[in-house]
Amino acid sequence: MKNKPTGKKKSAKSPPVEEVWILRLYVAGQTPKSIAAFANLKKICDEHLAGKYRIEIVDLLKNPTLAKGDQILALPTLVRQLPPPVKKLIGDLANTERVLIGLDIKPL
């Protein structure tokens, strides 16, 4: 993680035909768990959603009010904003299989 907690990370190119995945990762500062979660997420996305995903990172320490909107309790939490329906994954995303199931990504 390049010390850019609130910024947006975009993949290099976004093909117009295919849907864009918007994933929002909620963290609270740079804890080992949040760093691990980001790394795991990045890895999975690069493998399975190359070029069609966008990751938003929300640091609740800086924006505590945002926790209410997505009903965030556990951290880290990954919310799949798009495509619908909204899905929530909690934990450091170490279990790739469960992440794929949770995000409903069909393995290539």
Binding site: N40, L60, P64, K68, L75, A94, R98
Partner: protein
Amino acid sequence: MVKAKHGVDILEKCPTGIRGFDEISDGGLPKGRPTLICGSAGCGKTVLGMEFLLRGAIQYKEPGVFVSFEETPKDLAKNFSSLGYDLNDMIARKLIAMDHIYIERSEIEETGEYDLEGLFIRLAYAIDSIKAKRIVLDTIESLFSGLTNAGILRAELRRLFHWLKDRGITAVVTGESGENSMTRYSLEEYVADCVILLDFRVTEQISTRRLRIIKYRGSSHGADEYPFLIEKTGISILPVTSLGLDHTVSNERISSGIPRLDNMLAGQGFYRGSTILISGTAGTGKTSFATKFAESACKRGERCLYLAFEESANQIVRNMKSIGTDLSPWVKKGKLKFHASRPTLYGLEMHLVTIHNLISDFKPRIVIVDPVSNLTAVGTSVEVKSVLTRLFDYLKASHVTTLLTDLVHFGSGLERTNEEISSLIDTWVLLRDIEINGERNRGLYILKSRGMAHSNQIREVLLSDSGIDLVEVYLGSEGVLTGSARATQEAKERAESRDYQREMDRKMREQEHKRKSLEARIKALRAEFEMESEELRMMAKDEKKRRNDVVAERDEMVRLRKADRSTNPRKEGKRKGVR
């Protein structure tokens, strides 16, 4: 924390403002510590927590956060408004902050290590936004159903309560009762400072809510089960701590409203603050006595609370007009307050709580319970006695004079009350039927009256449109007579005495007559005697004359015969005289 003498921390209390709760918990909840409120569904956990926050915010200027895991803010606002608070207004004034935490297991996939930092952040944000001192977590156990990793959850809850303690927040955590533990997920393991159990029991179709402080670390507290009531204004708990017998007493005397009854009570009536029982069988005029007493209190300018368990207020007012007691002006002036309810409406303890609240709101100086015997319909005699003892203690401690009426059933001993409450009674007036010659009449006597030389007489009660009057009963050779028998007897006696007088007069006259006739006879006898004496005198005179004549005749004869003269000089002389 306040330092005590020996440097030991004394537990500081956070007052709840909930009626009765601060008394039984000796000041409130432990300040800066979490308290667990557990109980089954619908026993009032949320209301208790809610009221703790609302009262804290309004009465003690301690803003609070309500974190709901179950109900939505919209529903909560409705619930708050049912207690008479405008939640949105309080949120706008930063007295209350609210957060609704919703977790749905089916929407969540657990993918590895996590913690509940998000919850902490939300709580911290809510607390900081209004500088909250109090927080309610209702019901945090929902997390267990939303998250599968109980290990993480338990560790995080432990951390949460430490965190709240560190921040000095007084927390109320609610939890549903489990089967073998106080709460389903053993929350009591984390919240060990104060545990309150709410209970909701139904006996004979009457439900009673009860509250018990199971544990209160570092503080004394009432250990009993206390009944409580959820009213329009929130929860009220009856502090049934034994009040003891150390209340101060008054020497003031107050009128019973019936002058002759006052006379029987050593001329001055009841003691202020005493407990008075008027017992009697049906229709002996108990309510009439009670209303007279109420009226006299109102006339003195005192407030009077009339708890009617038998008749509606309007019915009492109407009926009492028939004995010349018009209560309606006092009701209008707010001096007299009726509270009419059916005893079976709710449990005995609920009645007690209701009465308690009425008394502390209305602040009466006189309380009338009419009749107390109807309360027995909703409890066993042990319960009734314990409830009444607590009620009377409370009333005595607040110097309220209490008048109870008690319906005694036919056939049962008159000098016995249903609830065996006689030992709690200071003055006991017994009304009884006296049945003679096909008539029922009302008799009254004072069975006991502590601290005064009361009359030992039986009086007859006369109810008329001018009120209640007590008259002396007839006590005569034929026993106690009342009613028309008394009137008859009195008339009979009057007639008897009249006859006797007449007889006497007659005898006197006779005697006088006798005397007169006797005197007349005496007179006659004397006259006769006089007459006889006179006759006798006359005879003697005649005899003398006759004898003289005889002598003279003889002398004449002698002279004629020329015999010797008698030597009797007298006769000589006489003879000369005759010559």
